[in-house]
């Protein structure tokens, strides 16, 4: 029998905050997004208090704190380090692992012969991660990725259980699928589930029994794959190669509203510079830069969202070109008279720098946009100088406007900074 496992960290960010704060055992914890805007993670206790995912912090702040909850700004240095540790422990336990996200990994259990051993492996794995890193995980074991996801979902619902669920017997699988709404199946979004509901498919079990021909014809190959996976046919393999990123996004909500395009431009420039650094770190070049600007979703009277892209004739990773493209896009979408609350930069259409195909018509494009610049050497120089602390700015940035992200309630970087180590008496 070929089995695989999904290891999923429980309420990961909230659990990370607890590792070095034993006093927070059983106390509700929420973690906020950059700039302390929304709730992005909740401990079990905070969920029980009714704090919803993604809710703006200001809406729940008062009642949450009054009820003794603890709040943190996001501390990605800590979460990243603890995530790496969890994955390293897992890599030491099985040969084949796919790190699916910061808090999830698929393990190949092909070395395990029967379901009893698989279950015991799951328990062992869970205990080791909890003891070694201090993070609680739950584990779903099944013949396919889609079923393993569902198994881990069941493990989450069963509070106080062993945290490990094996889904392999047909009757047991049927039982679980009958009680599972389709929008909780991996890969079924809200839109798709609405369409499926229209043809009377409500539970994962209904979906499993759907006609495969129909699924492929009326919907997609992806849906067909999901149905096969629900039936226990393995369609999705464990991918241990790290897929290169397909896009880079840098976006922020502002602390105050911005109406002036000049100020907006300096802010967008800051994001563009950061995006350029990330792009070069990834060793990529991009063909397209896009800009998004938006008003606050809470201001019902004046709402506007603008989005536009600038396309280069050949792939670039020079920040000066990114800035030029961003400026072009920004001025196209900017509308006077709106209080902007958010802006962002998106770099996309990547291509590996060593496989560049120069366009036959390059020269003509460049004469139209004289500003397309590409200088690897200069960029490497700037990145090197800005590594520790920014020393070189681009002219369209304004350093004093580089208001750092607001993180008023951030916890110490316990594992990555000598001066913020936990202390013992």
């Amino acid at each position: 029998m070929k089995l695989l496992a999904l290891v999923d960290c429980d309420n990961f960010y909230a659990s990370c905050e607890r590792v070095f704060r034993p006093d927070l055992k059983n106390i509700p914890i929420v973690v906020l997004s950059n700039n302390d805007g929304c709730v992005i993670a909740r401990s079990k206790e905070a969920k029980a208090m009714g704090v919803k995912m993604g809710v703006p912090w200001f809406k729940v702040q008062q009642s949450y704190l009054a009820n003794g909850g603890q709040v943190f700004s996001s501390n990605f240095a800590l979460y990243g380090d603890l995530s790496t540790r969890v994955m390293r422990v897992l890599e030491g336990m099985v040969e084949n692992i796919e790190i699916y996200s910061i808090d999830e990994a698929f393990l190949d259990l092909q070395h395990i012969q029967n379901i009893k051993n698989a279950y015991e492996f799951g328990i062992h794995c869970r205990n080791i991660i909890h003891q070694w890193v201090g993070i609680p995980v739950r584990i779903g074991i099944a013949p396919t990725k889609t079923l393993a996801k569902i198994a881990s979902h069941v493990a989450k619902k069963r509070n106080g259980g062993a945290g490990v669920i094996c889904l392999h017997e047909q009757t047991q699988i049927l039982n679980v699928l009958k009680n599972l709404p389709i929008d909780e199946v991996w890969g079924i979004g809200r839109n798709l589930s609405r369409h499926l509901n229209k043809i009377k498919i409500y539970s994962a079990c209904d979906l499993m029994n759907m006609d495969i021909q129909l699924a492929r014809k009326k919907f997609s190959v992806a849906l067909e794959r999901t149905i096969r996976e629900l039936r226990g046919e393995k369609c999705l393999e464990i991918q241990n190669r790290i897929e290169p990123k397909k896009q880079i996004i840098v976006s922020r909500s502002f602390r105050t509203r911005v109406e002036d395009v000049k100020i907006l431009e300096t802010l967008v420039s800051n994001f563009a510079v950061r995006a350029g650094e990330k792009l070069r770190q990834e060793g990529q070049k991009c063909l397209q830069v896009s800009v998004l600007i938006a008003t606050s979703p809470f201001n019902k009277n004046l709402q506007y969202r603008g989005f536009d892209s600038f396309r280069f004739s050949y792939p670039i990773n020079d920040t000066r070109s990114i800035l030029m493209g961003a400026r072009q896009a920004l001025y196209k979408i900017f509308k006077q008279g709106y209080p902007y609350a958010k802006a962002g930069i998106l770099l996309s259409h990547f291509s590996n720098p060593s496989m560049i195909q120069k366009s036959f018509f390059d020269g003509m494009h460049e004469s139209k946009y004289m500003h397309i610049k590409q200088d690897n050497h200069l960029m490497r120089c700037v990145d090197e100088m800005n590594k520790e602390q920014t020393q070189i700015y681009y002219a369209s940035q304004r350093p004093n406007q580089l208001s750092p992200i607001q993180k008023k309630m951030i916890s110490p970087k316990y594992t990555t900074n000598w001066w913020e180590l936990p202390t013992a008496n």
Binding site: P22, W132, S354, K358, Y414, T415, L421, P422
Partner: protein, 154 residues
């Protein structure tokens, strides 16, 4: 690799000039022309070069499970753990009777010697401090075993 085509005066003729690498070209050139080349006798040590000593390798056996904790106070001074020392704590080692450990006691981290017999107790290494006997219902979670302490003198 980049294949470079150049359009010559007659726009219908395309000459293939060969391929060049786009990667690191400037660096290679700089090094080639600016750095002097030694022509003396080669270093006799060059065949025996080894990596410099790495403290991590000596002090940390299981990186994923090892955390650093700073000591506050003198309670472990007779075990050569001074105030502000940095402890290497390995969470993967099962704490045994007599080991120095870091534990959380009533929501705070403490560094003490673990005594399992005759009675569960956390022993300080300083006569001015009292042993901590764990009472029924008291919360004691052992975080990990201290494998080394770094005392800095300067």
């Amino acid at each position: 690799m980049l294949y470079k085509y150049t359009v010559l005066k007659n726009p219908m003729t395309i000459n293939y000039l060969g391929s060049i690498s786009t990667d690191d070209l400037p660096t290679t050139f700089t090094k080639f022309f600016l750095e002097s080349v030694s022509v003396g006798f080669p270093s006799p040590a060059s065949d025996y070069l080894e990596n410099p000593i790495d403290l991590n390798q000596y002090l940390i056996k299981n990186g994923a499970a090892t955390f650093l904790v700073r000591v506050s106070g003198q309670s472990m001074i007779n075990a050569n753990i001074a105030d502000q020392a940095i402890l290497i704590v390995d969470r993967s080692l099962k704490p045994k009777h007599g080991n120095i450990i870091v534990a959380s006691l009533d929501g705070e981290f403490v560094c003490k010697r673990l005594q399992l017999r005759p009675r569960l107790c956390l022993l300080p290494e300083n006569p001015e401090y009292q042993p901590i006997y764990i009472q029924h219902g008291q919360d004691l979670d052992i975080m990990g075993t201290v494998t080394a302490a770094i005392n800095q003198f300067k």
